[in-house]
Symmetry: C2
Subunit: 323 residues, 2 copies
């Protein structure tokens, strides 16, 4: 699923438009403070609680902006994507808010509770073999047959502008920030955050927290070109995608820096956050806190915004059936 | 640790006084709604989020009221209790808010994270053998040596009046309720809720959700007298205490009804609540939701208040070290 050929980098005005577009549908999630974690990290942490977003992840913002940006005659043909995770559920729910069809191509082996969520929001599931080629082919076949509009999970200007609204709200509620740390997979949230920062707070440095087992963004930034041949191996199921080409371009231009984190550190940070905040965030969210804890000197005494990307935890995988 | 001989059943005025007393120290926790759980339960559920209370449980309310009710010369001698769980941590933090000493007698085999929390709040830990006799003896020894004031976890009028403020706030924020469901162990929360309901909303029925493996309250209500010889066997570590004598008297007079729940149903309800709300509540909280789900016809179409008693989950025990 390559980005649409007409991809144009969103401007800050597109972010503001996205904020207005999704406001009737998305939650303005709270910004959480956890005093004991501030003490632990040696800085002031402001957590944007996107695990409390509709469908349980920030992905609803981008999906919602994409769905509601369609002209009525386009919208009537529905939307299609391939995603076994939060983007699929988010697009399904966004389509439901507009009463249009949603097709989601899901690969064999996808996590059962996430598929159940996608189906519960009313989407039509299309199974395919695992692997990006099979997924793209199945997605294209559905698109041709139905005329549905492709909504890419991250290499899509409407999606990026939508994801940017999380950072916009965090900056609005949290005040001046020295740094912002967001998890990075395909780079929709990262690119959106870069655009929001450029518009509101150019001095705020942007860090991308990335699993060491899926560190294609770190490699791409280091090499100066997109590294797309890594095979992801991480517990962070939301961060296995390869950085999108337009996303990488936006992040490079913004001077974003990647911080890689081992899964062990991510799971320890997740458990710490669960215990201290009583908020159930998924590993893909905890990677950002783990990055801060792993680089304490860099953030010492600063005001640091963190986007808690989602709360769709696969409890059976993490805790076993005994939970 | 028998109730103090001067126990006098708290009146509704004592609940109002407790609310004023603890207001500078305790959180007024939010009332949460989870639409998909309403659909699942067939009724409107209003969750009082005491897992977000200070020290992670409603217990802080009663402990705080007890600590701040002491005359200055009493307070100077500190407080003492025996508890390996939420009451110990709550009393430790409450004592810290007043700057007085807190002694907590903890039995061998107590859960390590809960002990760490008690110590982190500044309490002095006193180890003893397991078993109620050893605990009471150790507690009495500390009391004699230090002159500290005994604060019983539930058979204490100040504690009961403090716990009642959770229900008071829920009734204030949640409006008219047909039923209130609270977990029951020693009966501090239950008795407090009964007094709050009598003062604010006498028509609201009170249900006590109790683990089937620690159903001494159900047995006591059925028999008309206190049944104190059951050996608790439940995953709900906050609900293993035997109902207190004054607590039982208050609950009998209020016409409260016990609903017993198997641990399997409690753990399923806990996992469901985690997934739907992204809020990490402990098994002792989930027992109340499980009771409602198990008795759908009884609550059909009603407005039902549930006190989420705490969020101090022993993740290692529930999920294993891999989490």
């Amino acid at each position: 699923m390559s980005p649409s050929p007409d991809f144009a980098t969103p401007a800050f005005a597109d972010v503001l438009a996205a904020a207005a577009c999704i406001a009737p549908h998305a939650h303005a999630t709270p910004v959480l403070r956890v005093r004991s974690l501030d003490a632990e990290a040696g800085c002031s942490l402001l957590f944007k609680a996107e695990h409390l977003q509709r469908a349980g992840a920030f992905k609803f913002r981008g999906a919602c902006n994409a769905v509601w940006s369609l002209a009525p005659e386009q919208a009537a043909r529905g939307v299609v994507t391939h995603s076994s995770g939060n983007h699929g559920a988010a697009l399904a729910l966004a389509a439901a808010t507009r009463g249009i069809a949603c097709h989601v191509v899901v690969p064999a082996g996808a996590v059962a509770p996430k598929l159940a969520a996608i189906a519960a929001y009313g989407a039509v599931l299309h199974r395919c073999e695992p692997g990006i080629d099979a997924r793209e082919a199945a997605c294209e076949a559905v698109r041709r047959r139905t005329g549905a509009n492709l909504v890419h999970p991250y290499a899509d200007a409407r999606v990026i502008a939508g994801q940017a609204t999380a950072a916009l709200e965090l900056l609005g509620a949290g005040g001046d920030l020295d740094a912002m740390v967001v998890p990075v997979g395909g780079g929709g949230l990262g690119a959106g955050t870069a655009i929001a920062l450029a518009g509101v707070s150019p001095r705020t440095r942007l860090y991308l927290a990335e699993p060491a087992g899926a560190a294609d963004t770190a490699a791409s930034l280091a090499r100066g070109e997109r590294v797309a041949d890594l095979v992801p191996d991480t517990v962070c199921d939301g961060l296995r995608a390869t950085i999108g080409a337009p996303n990488l371009a936006i992040l490079r231009a913004a001077g974003a820096e990647a911080l890689t984190v081992d899964d062990d550190a991510t799971l320890a940070a997740m458990r710490l956050f669960w215990q201290r905040s009583k908020q159930l965030v998924e590993p893909s969210s905890a990677v950002a806190l783990a990055a801060v804890l792993q680089h304490r000197p860099r953030f010492a005494g600063q005001r640091v915004g963190i986007v808690l990307s989602g709360g769709n935890v696969d409890l059976e995988a993490l805790c076993g059936a005994g939970t």
